[in-house]
Structure formats: C-alpha cells, structure tokens
C-alpha cells in the first residue's frame, strides 16, 4: 500500500506533469476562447469547444505514463501492481479536481451570463443541461476514458510493438465498421437512433464508465506481463 502511495507521490515530484500543464492548457484555452467570444459581435450565447483541450493532454499523459514512467518505475523495482494502482489512483484525483474546476467555471459562467460577453466555455449544450452531478459525472468519465485509452494502447505497444498496436487499432476499427454494417443490413438504425435519443448525459456517463472499467481491467491484464 505504502509503495502504491509512493508511486503517486513520485509522479507529483515534478508538479508540471499532473498539475501545472493541465491547468496551463485549460487557462490558455479559456483565455483564447474568451478573446474570440469577445470579438464576435453577437449578443446571444456563443459556445466553443475549447474546454476539451485538457482532455487531449490526458490522452498523451496516459501514453507517457506507460512509455516513460513505467520503465523508470521498473528501474526502482516497483511492482506492476503498485505502479498501476498508484498511477490510476493519482489520475483519478486529478480528474476529480479538474471536474471541480469545470463545475465551478460553469457556475461563474452562468452567473456572469457568459463572462459578460455571452461566451460559454464550460457549458456545453445537452451535456451540461442536467443537474450538477450529471455534468460532473460526464466530465470525470471523459477524462478517465482519455487517460485509460492512452494508457492501454501504450501498454499494447510496450508488449507487442508496432505490429500489436496496428493490429489492435485496426481490429477495433474493423469491429466498429462491422457493427455499423450489420446495423445497416438488419435495418436497425431506427432502433439505435431511438436508443440514443432516450439517453441522458448521466446515462451516457454510466455506459462510458462501464467501458472505462473494462478498459482499465484490460490495461492491468496487459501490464501484468509487460516489460520496460
């Protein structure tokens, strides 16, 4: 247990990686969005996609945790289990903190009617329409998903090299295309559309959380036999 906590502390030794960069990216994206909102002379709600910027950094963070931090942890004779739990645990805390920031940003945004320029950065139509916990669940799950997907593909790369990565990414694409083709063939698109129309941000978060759990379990199984 103490070694798991030590893994988390180790990754906070350089504060930039897990705290500094996400905040910098969020702030830069926010300020740029505001500047653009201010330049558009329209006095009604303007929505931008800038709040997704940190999510892409989390994808990279997931990849680097595996390709660079994992080999280092092996050099310090840290077990794969401690590395996995410490890293994922730390990221969950970071994702929680970021979610808090997004919620707070959303509150201020609505109170100031879009920062005085009718610009909405943290509010996203449909996603943030529900109650606060639905919004929170959505942001948290998306952040976890980005990190875990990066982490898992990097683990696959570590274990099976370029071939493994190609096979798994192509395999995933082919499976998705296959599903789409099957849906077309069976004329199920109507049902699929109806299903999606019924979903709320909260239920989508639930499904995505389930996917995250599956991916996290897959990552761990793959990591168990990975070499630095």
């Amino acid at each position: 247990m103490s070694r798991t906590v030590a893994v988390a502390r180790m990754q906070l030794i350089n504060k930039w990686t897990y705290i500094g960069w996400p905040l910098t990216i969020l702030a830069a994206s926010f300020l740029m969005s505001l500047a653009i909102f201010a330049l558009i002379p329209v006095n009604e709600g303007k929505y931008g996609g800038g709040s997704q910027a940190p999510m892409w950094y989390f994808l990279v963070l997931g990849i680097q945790s595996m390709t660079l931090v994992f080999p280092f942890s092996q050099g310090l004779s840290i077990s794969r289990r401690a590395f996995y739990l410490g890293t994922l645990g730390l990221f969950s805390l970071i994702a929680l903190g970021m979610t808090g920031l997004y919620l707070l940003g959303g509150v201020i945004e609505r109170a100031t009617n879009g920062w005085g320029v009718y610009g909405f950065f943290f509010s996203i139509p449909w996603v943030t329409d529900g109650p606060w916990y639905s919004t929170a669940a959505f942001f948290f799950v998306v952040m976890m998903f980005m990190f875990i997907i990066g982490f898992w593909f990097a683990t696959i790369f570590k274990r099976w090299g370029t071939t493994g990565t190609l096979v798994s990414t192509l395999g995933t694409s082919i499976a998705l295309i296959g599903l789409a083709a099957l849906t077309t063939l069976l004329e199920w698109w109507g049902h699929v559309g109806a299903w999606f129309a019924q979903q709320t941000p909260l239920s989508i978060s639930g499904w995505a959380a389930l996917l995250c759990v599956v991916l996290a379990a897959g990552s761990y199984t793959t990591l168990r036999r990975a070499t630095p």
């Binding site: 030590a6 004779s77 840290i78």
Partner: protein
C-alpha cells in the same frame, strides 16, 4: 553470512531465432562484488532483467532472497537495477529521479547522492532528456550507489563516462561497499578496468555461463608459455590449449591449466618463458575457444542486432 541470495535454475529465454539464455544455473551469495562479463548481446542484461522480474524467462526458475521477485514487494524493495538504456519520465530532472528513489529505498542516502552528483559534475536541474550519454550514465550510477539496496545491479554503468569519472565510480563503489556491505553485480565488457574490484566472476556467452569462479581462483588458473615452437609444443603436449600464436619459429601458447612448481622449474630449464594471463585475456580466449568449438563463428552481427532490438 554466506547465504545464497540469487539463484537461477535452468533458465531459458528464447527469442525468435536465438536463445538469449540457454540453461543458466547460477547461485550468488550475499555481500560480495560479482562481475557479470561477456560480449554485447551475450545475455547479461537479459539475465539481470529476469532476475529482477523486469522481463520473463521462457522456462526455469529465478529466485532472489529465496522467492520470485515478480510482483513481490518484499523482494523488490531490496533490489536496484537501473539499466544501461534506462528511461525516465519526460519532465524529469536528475534531482527528481533522486527524490523518486528516496521514496522507495529505505537506505537511500541523499547526502551521498549530492556528493556523487558533484563528483560527476552532473547538472541536477537540467532535463534528463537533454543530458549527454555520460551524464545519463551518471544518473543511473548515482541511483545505484545511493540507494544502498541489498542487491544492486550496475548494467554497463560507464557508457559515455570519461576515464576520470569511471575511476571515480570504481573508487566510490569500493569505499561505500566497505562501509555498507551489500551484493553488487557489475555487468561489464571493459574487463581489465573492473578486474581488481571483483571478488567473483561470471562469464556469459551466447546465453550460456562459460565461467563461474572466484577471482582468486582465476588468477593463475591459466598461463601463457612462450619460447621456441617445438619446445613449447613438446612441453604442453596433452594439455588444454586455449590459444596459440606463432611468429617464425617462436610460439606463444595459452593453456587453461595451472602449472605446479615442478612444471615451472622444468619450463625454466627448457628456456621457456611463463607469463600470467589477465582476466580479460582469459575471458576473450575462452569465449573465442567456445565459439570455435561450436563452429558458429563469433556471431558479430547476430549479437549486434540483439542489442539493438532491446
């Protein structure tokens, strides 16, 4: 005191078309300095990786402190193995790497690490990915020394280090080892440089252990006899010859046997000259003799690709 802390039993590691480890059996005891010697790609790093559970054997057993190191915190916490091509987190500076090591090694000595960093003139506040090869090696050397782990591996620790820095490393290693005895496994192909440090020598070639003996016993275990070719050959008839060199009518022959005092006197009377064989020469001769015996040549290319792959 003399308990076994590393034990390998019938270890094999197969890659596609070569055996990186080929039935390795090994037993190392506590508080000694071991040399793990061999050519590039001989299997040194593979063996160390498997012992520390960084990599997996195809078959066989690797026990450290009596158990497998795999996912075993009570074993892992006593091991340090910074590999020659060690990777570090992207944003890390040497000082971050040292603070990380301090989190995991209960005997970590920060003062010692600081002193070493000064000795090696290591810029501790520069990003690791901007360091030169020698400075990168210094980071690994400092973690290995200052962690004072009961079982410490050094994997070709001198790469890119200049002669002064290498000497510093050897000196600090011996000093600190005298004060804090532990088991050290030093993998190297610069044999002459480390020969004096080693208490026990393990030589690995193409995945096989070809020598496993105390340094004490190795000194004098082989001898080179030189003089006129026919006299040398007559004197050494029936002995285990490692190497033979001739120049005109003169021959210089290395035998893998010690000579007793009667034989030495006899050699002197015949006018033959006896000279000791250095550890490096012995390892080179034995490796080449082994290659010739199996008829596979020295396998330069296979070895190099092996190293690059890793």
């Amino acid at each position: 005191m003399n308990d076994t802390i590393v034990e390998a039993r019938n270890l094999f590691k197969h890659y596609k078309e070569l055996n990186a480890l080929d039935n390795v059996n090994l037993s190392l005891t506590a508080n000694r300095i071991y040399g793990l010697l061999g050519r590039n790609g001989a299997g040194k790093t593979t063996l160390m990786s498997i012992l520390t559970a960084q990599a997996f054997a195809s078959s066989g057993e690797a026990l450290v402190f009596g158990a497998s190191a795999y996912e075993n915190d009570s074993v892992l916490s006593r091991i340090c193995f910074i590999r020659e091509s060690q990777k570090y987190p992207d944003d890390f500076q040497p000082q971050h790497a040292f603070r990380s090591a301090a989190l995991f090694y209960k005997n970590w000595d920060q003062e010692f690490a600081d002193r070493l960093a000064e000795d090696f003139q290591l810029p501790v506040k520069r990003r690791i990915k901007k360091l030169s090869r020698g400075q990168l090696s210094a980071v690994g050397v400092i973690i290995g020394l200052a962690s004072r782990a009961e079982l410490t591996f050094f994997d070709e620790p001198y790469l890119g280090l200049d002669a002064v820095a290498r000497q510093l490393f050897y000196d600090r290693l011996v000093e600190d080892y005298a004060e804090y005895p532990r088991t050290i496994i030093l993998s190297s192909h610069l044999i002459d440089e480390v020969a004096n440090l080693l208490e026990h020598v393990v030589v690995i070639d193409r995945g096989r252990i070809i020598m496993d003996a105390d340094a004490e016993d190795i000194r004098g275990s082989a001898v080179t006899v030189s003089g006129s070719a026919d006299k040398v050959d007559a004197f050494l008839a029936g002995r285990k010859i490692l190497h033979r060199e001739t120049l005109g009518s003169l021959a210089s022959v290395t035998v893998d046997e010690a000579l007793d005092s009667r034989e030495r006197t006899e050699a002197q009377e015949l006018g033959l000259e006896l000279s000791p064989v250095s550890l490096q020469q012995l390892v080179v001769r034995k490796t080449m003799a082994g290659a010739a015996a199996t008829g596979t040549g020295t396998g330069d290319f296979a070895d190099d690709t092996m190293e690059a792959r890793r």
